[in-house]
Subunit: 153 residues, 2 copies
DNA sequence: TTCAAATTGTTATATTATTACAAAAACAAG
DNA sequence: CTTGTTTTTGTAATAATATAACAATTTGAA
């Protein structure tokens, strides 16, 4: 999905954005939280909590709450999203405008692309408003095969 | 969300539809599977697998695989959907046209409404096609408060 | 009636996540 | 600084969700 790219800059962009957000909000972006976010960003796939735990455990004496608490913090601040259909987590690629996002999940390369603020979101809003439903949180996860993987096919 | 209504007819409609589908497809709609579907349909909320298990266990010596296998069968045949954001299951309210469905989930009354084939689905298709993504399975779950609960509120 | 396939029973275990409480670190007020 | 408070982290235990593996049974077809 992302093919070959300078992934280091994905990581560093994400870390800088996280720094900025935490600073702006007066939050403590601790060593541990930073480390978890880096691990989440190791690639563009969704990562399982217990895989994070294993990686963390090399440096920290990590137990499940260690990683779940860090993930909770990161999710609350829009730096990480949970992919419910996979029970796994991805780094947010645009944490400042993370409303109405959805996810394309390639079942071949296992990468996840986050998409924002499109006609889809608008259609959801309209549909839901038509029902008089006050929506709060939307989970939209689209599983399939990305273009790159189709071409390789 | 559904307010007061003749829920018995929801159940019987669902059972009739399930009978028809299984007959048409030459599937075995066994006592157990039927029983699980009835339990799923006890109300319009999403039900947890282990709650089903407890209820089942009164009549059957049910173990987890008992209920998960029945749910698997029902899901495969579009009679039940899993709500990923809740890890819970709902009966499908229109099992014959269960493509491009999504769910409104009221966090007050805990009921779930299934919606089908709307502009939302169309917007998703367009969006996804624009990315060259071949989509296979869509999870769209909208959490909020239904109109009835807002009015009571 | 026998064979093969599908279903169910059963035990065990894997996976995902939370609770509860203690220790430590960070921070703010005096 | 130092005291008290809040936040974060450590740790053990356990809860909640789900699957694997294999045996027994039932079903349906030849």
């Amino acid at each position: 999905m992302y093919g070959r790219h300078e992934h280091d800059s994905c990581i560093s962009d994400a870390m800088v954005a996280a720094d900025d957000i935490c600073k702006a909000r007066g939050l403590r972006f601790t060593e541990l939280r930073r480390h978890v976010l880096e691990l989440v960003w190791e690639n563009h796939g969704a990562v399982k909590a217990y895989d994070l735990l294993e990686k963390l455990d090399k440096d920290y004496s990590a137990k499940p709450p260690t990683v779940y608490r860090a993930l909770e913090f990161l999710q609350e601040n829009g730096l990480v999203h949970k992919i419910n259909s996979l029970n796994a987590y991805v780094g947010c690629s645009h944490p400042l405008k993370h409303t109405d996002c959805f996810f394309l999940i390639c079942s071949n390369c296992n990468e996840v692309q986050e998409c924002c603020g499109s006609d889809v979101a608008k259609a959801v809003r309209n549909m839901v408003a038509g029902q008089g439903f006050a929506h709060n949180q939307t989970t939209l996860e689209i599983e399939g095969v990305c273009q790159e993987c189709q071409l390789e096919g």
